[in-house]
């Protein structure tokens, strides 16, 4: 009886047979995106920091908690703030879920940023992984846009003024700026239409785009030959000069849409036995551990710290000082010096420089000692942004005037 029920749900042969076992392997998505074997070195924490996995798991957590929050949220100014209060005080597990969503979002910004730094430091964006770097930068941009659109939804003072400033930065872009602003807000000022648009972008459009890009990102890792080896280790073997090529089987046809015929066009290079281990269970176990650690960290943060919520949005009264989310404070600090130049030009140039990095960095070497200029320039940019961010976070008070953080009544964290 039980057996027949199970057999009706899980079709295919049971894993007790040879055929069943191979089907289990062929039809498993998570197995499918892994190679059969991975290098031992790549499983070490110090190789990648598991930052890509952590980012991926944070996205999963954000999807799950975000979906839950949607049950109690109306994207309408008169109700949105009340919904936040309900989530804080009335909804069972409401504060926990909202905290998780908030902290996971902030951790994600940190994780993708560190992920980018790690990949840059390892030179992993170089041949043949140029395009996956581009996908990664687009994903970073999507994460920032997601966090920006999500920031408006609580409809509190912080949200309202951060997005007012943000959309006016967009409007200061040459030529297209004002049109894009109207398009984004569905009007000329932040109101009902804008909240609805940001909501749709935040819960449907941007997550959909991000999901699609994440798939491409993961798929490209395998297509580009797995993770890049350590920059200090031996150079990667790019094209396999095999002495005895794998013979193509006469039974197999490679008729992709009837256009391509003949032998396989590429062969897979299997790493040496002694430095490679099976993905299952060695990689799976570590990925599971990373998932548990990420979830535990987010839950711990959610239990310990409450997500901030300021008073309800008041279009006539700008809080003083009005600060952007902390990771945008570097941009805001630059903005306080000159608007179009630092709000539009500098960030656009930065994004462009990041996107095109693999195509203008001609240096083929991935060894740190051959990349002194690239590494120090990158460190300089990162450090100067961090300094600007810290200034914006701790040294700016009312009217964006300079204050010492230990002075009485200082602005404090955003």
């Amino acid at each position: 009886m039980l057996k027949s029920i199970l057999r009706s749900i899980f079709r295919g042969d049971p894993p007790s047979t040879q055929k069943g076992r191979s089907e289990l392997v062929f039809y498993n998505l998570w197995l499918h995106i892994h190679p059969a074997k991975v290098r031992k070195e790549h499983l070490k924490l110090r190789h990648t920091g598991y930052l890509g996995f952590v980012s991926f798991f944070l996205l999963l957590i954000l999807g799950a908690t975000g979906l839950a929050l949607m049950f109690y949220y109306h994207p309408y100014p008169a109700m949105a703030y009340q919904d936040m209060k309900d989530l804080q005080f009335v909804v069972f597990l409401g504060p926990f879920l909202r905290n998780m969503h908030r902290w996971a979002a902030q951790l994600l910004v940190v994780a993708v940023f560190l992920h980018l730094c790690r990949v840059f430091y390892a030179g992993a964006y170089k041949e043949p992984r140029q395009f996956n770097w581009v996908v990664g930068v687009l994903l970073l941009f999507l994460v920032l846009t997601l966090s920006f659109t999500g920031y408006l939804l609580p409809w509190d003072q912080k949200a309202f003024w951060a997005i007012t400033v943000g959309t006016n930065i967009v409007a200061s872009a040459p030529l297209v700026g004002p049109v894009v602003k109207v398009l984004l807000l569905g009007g000329h000022s932040l109101g009902t239409q804008a909240l609805l648009r940001f909501y749709v972008l935040h819960v449907v459009v941007l997550p959909g785009l991000a999901a699609a890009l994440v798939m491409v990102h993961l798929w490209r890792i395998r297509k580009d030959g797995g993770l890049a080896p350590s920059p200090s280790g031996p150079e990667e073997i790019s094209s396999p000069p095999r002495e005895t090529p794998i013979p193509s089987s006469p039974e197999k046809t490679y008729g992709l849409m009837g256009i391509v015929t003949g032998k396989p066009t590429f062969e897979v290079l299997v790493p040496e036995e002694e430095e490679a281990v099976f993905s299952y269970p060695y990689a799976f176990l570590r990925e599971g551990a990373a998932f548990l650690a990420t979830s535990a960290a987010v839950m711990a943060l959610a239990l310990l710290y409450n997500a901030p919520l300021s008073e309800v949005a008041d279009p006539s009264k700008t809080p003083n000082p009005a600060k952007a989310p902390w990771y945008f404070l570097g941009v805001q600090e630059l903005l306080s010096h000159s608007p179009t130049l630092s709000g539009i030009l500098l960030p656009s140039l930065m994004v462009l420089a990041l996107l095109l990095l693999p195509y203008y960095d001609w240096n083929p070497s991935r060894r740190p000692k051959d990349r002194v200029l690239a590494l120090s320039l990158f460190a300089l940019v990162v450090l100067s942004y961090l300094v600007l961010l810290l200034i914006g976070l701790y040294f700016r008070g009312a009217g964006w005037a300079w204050v010492w953080p230990w002075a009485k009544g200082a602005g404090g964290a955003a």
Partner: protein, 153 residues
Amino acid sequence: MNRRSFLSLSTASAAALLATAGMGLAGFFRFLFPGVFYEPARRFKAGYPADFPPGQPVFLPAEKVYLFHDPAKGFSAASAVCTHLGCTVQWSERDRQFNCPCHGSVFAADGAVLRGPAPRPLSWLEVTLSKDGQLQIDKNRPVTDAYHLLVPA
């Protein structure tokens, strides 16, 4: 079908497909612009002149406008929207200047930029008397800071 007719047919089909996609995109682009803006009117009545005796400027919160009443020159109205990134500026009576809380711009009483990143002075708006005797402010009609409306008492 020969090669020539096949190629011309494919070109025509591809062009038709592209044109359809283009029209669809253009339509969607236009669709995203609302037909009606449910927003506060750009021209509004602030109240009767007698409600605003000379002295400190009055802030009209819904419209984000400061209404000034100079005993000699008359009424004038300044937009409280900072020309930098749209925060609401605050009038400080002590320093007789506008302060922007977002990025520290400071504007003089005539709207000129004194300090900070603001690229332009605050905008001054036309003040007229409507038929029912109320002060009417029109955000669509910017004026210079010299513009005043003198209402005989």
